[in-house]
Symmetry: C2
Subunit: 274 residues, 2 copies
């Protein structure tokens, strides 16, 4: 069990990582801020991130003890009353559980090639998010990806940060367990994944083939574009595209919802012969 | 083209319906508040609701004129500058377009029986939302339902209000075009829909049959439960249940996302022989 340290003074320098953790205040700071007990579990089992410290509301402590035992002795657990807690965080934190997290280690290109090759051999899936700008959508994309066994997420240089506090929350912690990395340029990402043997697919209202008619099961990379504009039309025309059958004349679906529908199709047919 | 009336004084009694329209302030008031130009279009084509009045930011007026022409001369269009507009609404309305809407007419049981019988004959779908409590989810459910041709939504007595401002916005106005009604009791709703010839199905992680194996196309009613608990287990055990194939050990999907996956399956197979 990690050490428990009582905090009575909101200006105590030891709780510096927890000071003013509204999303807008976290920009540019090292590490990330995870909230809530379910996300705490995801952080405990993450191989890519580790907790640096926890801040727990005093009246939540007893109920959380079994969970807290999964953190090592090098993770201080700060405990505070509601008033001190909210004064530290800069807003009322209803869940009463905050974890300051950091990356566990730097990953190399070789690590990523090995990871993706393993996913490919296993006929698994990866998602490529290009220019996704909404943190809710990013979180929902990871949550949906987790439900359908997505092995990794690749982000282009324009996509927003999955470690934004709100994305972590909406993902129910899945951003801490699905490996992700950032790479520059959709064409470079495509060349890399295609070279590793992934079938690269994207979603488009004018797609070549209806999703539900996509039969043969293969290792797949699903490319998603920005919320408004979608993927670059020049890139779209060079990649096999799927359309989701939809009633005529309507606004398209939310990007994370579209991804869920496509990933469900891939996942539910994963045991069919290729 | 409806009349355009300039408002210079935020206390002007004519703009009463637009005063203090944050969701919490709208509770218990007649009518509803729709925002944004896309939702305005949905209101214009709605058969079940009509605009009572519009409030438009002056610098949006010219761009909106083609849209505004679709409202009748009995719909006053109030125009105000940003400062006056925000003082009326009680918060900064970035979209600069508000519509005060009301129900066009009361619908009878006979109207609803006729509507549902038509949907059933057409082998269409309805959604039944029991206890859904989150307004984002309610809005997303209508948006997703619209994409997949849902003909009507039935709400039980516990489900939240689709006409809540945030639900309307998240639905991209679909709550104004998909007919919905409230009824008491999931069993009464089930008896009614089954009696009209709908195949009643629900979603459950322990469902009898995997969604993607559901073949034969029929008129269907999809029952959805609350975000946390789902449907009443006693009811669940009496209805045919579908499970969405999912990676093991995970939190279930968001209810509106689950619905989208199921409805996509129904919709994409609607032309298969029954």
């Amino acid at each position: 069990m990690p050490p428990i340290i009582e905090i009575f003074d909101p200006t105590d320098p030891r709780i510096e990582p927890f000071r003013d953790v509204r999303d807008r205040d976290l920009r540019g700071r090292d590490g990330f801020m995870a909230e809530g007990s379910v996300v705490l579990d995801q952080l405990a089992r993450s191989e890519r991130f580790r907790a640096g410290a926890l801040l727990i509301l005093r009246n939540r402590l007893a109920g959380l003890e079994p969970r807290l035992a999964s953190f090592g002795p090098d993770v201080p657990i700060y405990v505070a009353d509601s008033e001190v807690f909210d004064a530290i965080a800069g807003f009322p934190v209803h869940r009463g559980v905050l974890a300051y997290g950091v990356a566990a280690e730097l990953e190399t290109d070789a690590d990523w090639n090995a990871r993706l090759s393993a996913i490919q051999r296993d006929r698994g899936f990866v998602v490529v998010a290009c220019g996704l700008s909404n943190h809710d959508n990013m979180g929902a994309l990871f949550r949906n990806g987790d439900a359908f066994g997505v092995g990794a997420v690749i982000l282009d240089q324009m996509a927003c940060d999955p470690l934004y506090r709100k994305s972590i929350r909406v993902s129910v912690g899945s951003v801490l367990t699905i490996p992700f990395r950032r790479m520059e340029g959709v064409r470079a990402i495509h060349a890399w994944l295609a070279g590793l043997g992934f079938e690269c697919l994207c979603l488009s209202p004018a797609g070549d083939i209806a999703l539900h008619e996509l039969g043969t099961h293969r290792a797949r990379a699903l490319f998603l574009g920005t919320e408004g504009e979608g993927l670059d039309p020049a890139f779209l025309s060079d990649v096999r595209s799927l359309r989701i059958a939809m009633a005529p004349g309507l606004d398209s679906l939310n990007v994370a919802t579209s991804a869920a529908i496509a990933l469900h199709h891939f996942f539910s047919r994963r045991f069919e012969p290729s």
